[in-house]
Symmetry: C2
Subunit: 160 residues, 2 copies
DNA sequence: CATAATCTCTTCTCTTGAGAAGAGAAATCT
DNA sequence: AGATTTCTCTTCTCAAGAGAAGAGATTATG
């Protein structure tokens, strides 16, 4: 997955710190998925569904960073595992709605350690400091999305 | 690849913001790789080599989040593309050293937009605020690594 | 209306990652 | 020294993602 190409912020070792951080997040994602006996993408998609509720395959795949082909098979796997159900959309018969209907039994147990550790870290910050963190997450997310957009647009230009 | 299972911090929409952030970072990584005509993992590995210098396959694979099998083929691809060279380690003949010997021509061009945008965001913060950010990256990285460690250890327990 | 253009999902083929098994080299133990 | 254990990389098989192509449904246009 897909793995991230970090864009190093400027300080001396900042880019290393940032890279280590992203790397750790992803290694944890893989370990979590393995503990749930799922692929990392499958668990990620399940998390998206838990937070956002039912989505169409297109929406789900887009948020999970998948193209449409793999998305269909992702949903196949989740459906077979009993975590998800396909429901036809009444208003647009081209569409399907993917409803979460279950959660891996040990998901909470698996997430607990990271949740607690990160929670403790965040508790150590003042509200102002937390504002800085989440302000950064917000704006950086936008920046990366825009940058990705530019790259895709530039690539589409030069394609046949 | 692998995609992250975010562990939502506590605030109301914080977990959503955090998820969007990670998602954006990864989508940008994929777009960057595509723009360089490489896989996301391949470009990530190349970045690791640029920052860390020559590494053994084991080290490289570990940092890229790959197991040893795929790592060999990753290096095969990079070698075939001319970005990397395998050199035998004189002191330990089990080992190989992977040396970066080139970089995709348009890597800088590809990275420029994100680098600039993120740079602008970071310039908007005071030194104290930047300390908060990088303090978080440091500690969160450790937290996620430890949490992943616990999961792996627990999984190894219950395995045959 | 009818036709064309667009959208959404699925199917197919090829590349890439995971994990098990194995070969070769080094370290450790007796 | 010889045997065992450990380490590092490679090879092999199977599952998962990328992208192209296609089927079915909706919307826009003449």
């Amino acid at each position: 997955m897909g793995e991230p190409v970090s864009t190093p912020p400027m300080r001396s070792d900042a880019s290393e710190a940032y890279r280590r951080y992203l790397s750790a997040v992803m290694l944890h994602g893989q370990a979590s998925a393995r503990a749930c006996e799922l692929g990392a993408t499958d668990l990620y998609a399940l998390n998206i569904l838990r937070l956002s509720g039912a989505l169409s395959p297109g929406e789900l795949g887009g948020r999970a960073g998948l193209t449409t082909g793999p998305t269909t098979r992702l949903i196949d796997r989740l459906e077979r595992a009993g975590y998800v159900r396909r429901v036809p959309d009444a208003r647009d018969r081209r569409k399907v709605i993917v409803e979460p209907i279950g959660t891996p039994v040990d998901l909470d147990r698996v997430m607990a350690p990271a949740r607690q550790k990160v929670g403790e870290i965040l508790e150590g910050y003042t509200p102002e400091q937390l504002d800085v963190l989440f302000d950064y997450f917000d704006r950086a997310a936008l920046a990366y999305r825009e940058a990705a957009e530019e790259l895709s647009a530039a690539g589409a230009d030069t394609d046949g």
